[in-house]
Symmetry: C2
Subunit: 399 residues, 2 copies
């Protein structure tokens, strides 16, 4: 059986995700689609809209065959480490290809860009260094350097586009890993990542969908943009938790730990650098809601996403020291499977390079314990008082 | 002007406290009563029933002339350090005597006990060591050792009684300080500290009164046991916060930081010793309310009070390291004054040995910043989102 891998968050699952999975299956000619999905905290440094089990169920209902978890340490990392974790897991579980959505839409420009940057590594680093000197953010500096190197040449990927950037890192990670997986990309259609919802388009961004929920639109109103099963599951999530995950919802706990720890302890947490802990601490003192808080902290140099990743690590108490102790993924955590996914695992078990974990109780190393830890703190942010769900939820099976 | 000092918590202020203040004034022949009062966290390791400003107002309304704050580091410490801080402040502000309530009721037995223990220091330490070896708690071990040394002799204080123990430490602290303050004691009347409320007695314990509040009895129902002004102020507190302070109220935040930090970090907090951090962590995982949590953690060796002090320090993030950096009080924080209290300060300002602080902004050292810190986290536990009260509340003046 031939599998294609995709790297996803499904926050929440919508028509754009359905399109991506269907096109990945088509482009690869694979028998099944394997998704490596972030757990309770996401790449933009945010708590997930709803928990990983509900999001797994959405994926299975929409035709994904296997859902495995991207461990916290990768799921909340900047693009290159996020990609490294996702690609390593897809490779370990035996995918013959992986497929990502991009603004670019074809794969060659990515390979061209990767090889250009390898060949001109020194020039690239010098340009980045120079750009950072002007006070701009790291992602912007990368971008400036890259733009100079590729000026007036059309056969390179446009790395000003968010999905192209991620795609570039997937290909880079696969190459560094020496993976034999074939890289594929499909053209993204519909809304851009940050577009608010547009009722005349069948595909809306996850951001737009979440905003519509927070504004109080009923899930049914969103049925143009999501599979019906996603709507049903979001209704279920609302019944279970009474809320959806967001920093606004988690702010009272986040604020408490910021104020309790103070700047000296804050700088021990992963990604907290360059004295930003003082601004984080001072802003938490005065700001009563998350939006006003983040407005005080973010800047040209420290983007919202970068700050949010720091906040995620402050929230979970995840230190630089622990971050530096990790390298490659050490297990494959199975969150859900279709009948086809189950058959795939049965046929391929012996070829899977990492321990396949079905029960949280078997997560014995520090990377796995961190996932359990993140779930406990996520559930508390969602207002739960019972934190056993990680141990009582078996992989979800969909016939 | 002659001042008598008392060391109090007023959690909340009731008739027993009124009796104590009146008798202290009478026994000392002083012109005014100065109370050193704990701030937002108390000696049994609990958040205060209501904030220090409301409790200051209660004290002033009931005739106390000056209220100064016992810093967090002493207010939340075991008896000997609690006493050390309180006595040092009363001495520094110029009291000529101090007066405590005791089961004993006369002062000589305390002096006798103090001198006995000084003379027989080595025997005493050996007996304590032996007692601890049997697995009992430290306070119990002290008690056993003392009982053996004083067997069949009636001129020593009975140190099985909680208020006698505190009184003993006051006298010890005054002697160690070389203070010229005269020690005085009055007989405690009415309910014991732990008695539930008894409607036929005019004096009820603060514990009993708090329980009645948590059960939902209206403040007016308690008017037999408290000055009318205390009732009015507790009504005001309820309007301001909507809740009263308790570990049950603070448990969701406490639980979050326990689960976030984990055993390795927990043992860095003051008073956390001997592996108890593992039990604290495991119990927080499963227990959904504070009472069931504390039931899991407390034992013969680790009393409820001792555990609660650890929890207070975990809640505030107060480390062993910071604790060890403190010695004597470094300032006198003025919380409130009557007209007489104001005159006293005007006459005696030059003789007061420590800086007299009226505004939180002037608390510049780490001991003072810790008080501000404790207030911020206390207010968050009380459900506030505005933490400026420490800076916007001047000393309360009562004409």
């Amino acid at each position: 059986m031939k599998a294609v891998g995709i790297i996803v968050e499904y926050n929440p699952f919508h028509n754009g995700h359905l399109h991506h999975a269907e096109q990945a299956r088509k482009a690869s000619g694979a028998d099944l689609v394997i998704a490596v999905m972030s757990g309770q905290f996401l790449q933009r440094g945010e708590p997930a809209f709803t928990d990983k089990w509900l999001r797994t169920q959405m994926a299975l209902d929409a035709g994904i065959d296997l859902v495995i978890e991207l461990p916290y340490v990768y799921a909340t990392a900047q693009a290159s480490d996020f990609a490294k974790g996702g690609i390593a897991l897809l490779d370990a579980i035996g995918c013959s290809s992986f497929c990502f959505g991009s603004e670019q839409g074809t794969i060659e420009p990515f390979s061209n860009s990767l090889h250009l940057l390898k060949e001109r590594e020194d020039d690239y680093q010098q340009l980045i260094h120079k750009a950072i000197g002007t006070g701009i953010s790291y992602p912007k500096a990368l971008n400036n350097a890259y733009t100079i190197l590729t000026a007036n040449q059309t056969h390179f990927a446009d790395l000003t586009q968010p999905n192209n950037i991620l795609g570039f890192h997937y290909i880079e990670a696969a190459e560094n890993l020496g993976s034999s997986m074939q890289p594929l990309t499909i053209q993204r259609i519909g809304a851009n990542y940050h577009d608010p919802i547009n009722v005349e388009m069948p595909i809306a961004s996850a951001t737009g969908i979440r905003e519509a929920f927070f504004k109080g639109d009923s899930p049914d109103k969103l049925s143009a943009f999501m599979p019906e099963s996603s709507i049903i599951l979001l209704n279920k999530a609302q019944t279970e938790y009474g809320v959806f995950g967001s920093w606004e919802q988690f702010y009272s706990l986040l604020r408490f730990v910021i104020l309790r720890d103070g700047p000296e302890k804050l700088k021990q947490y992963a990604e907290v650098t360059e004295g930003i802990e003082n601004l984080i601490y001072q802003s938490a003192k005065t700001e009563k809601n998350f939006e006003s808080f983040i407005s005080c902290v973010k800047s040209k140099r420290f983007t919202r996403t970068r700050i949010q990743r720091m906040l995620t690590h402050i929230y979970t108490g995840f230190t630089w020291r622990l971050l530096r102790s990790f390298d490659a993924p050490s297990y494959i955590r199975l969150l859900g499977m279709s009948n086809t996914g189950k058959r795939y695992l049965n046929h391929n078990k012996k070829n899977i390079e990492l321990p396949l974990i079905s029960r949280a109780a078997d997560l014995n190393d520090s990377m796995g314990k961190l996932d359990i830890h993140a779930t406990t703190l996520y559930l508390q942010g969602m207002g739960s008082v019972d934190f056993k769900k990680e141990f009582t939820t078996p992989p979800i099976y969909r016939d």
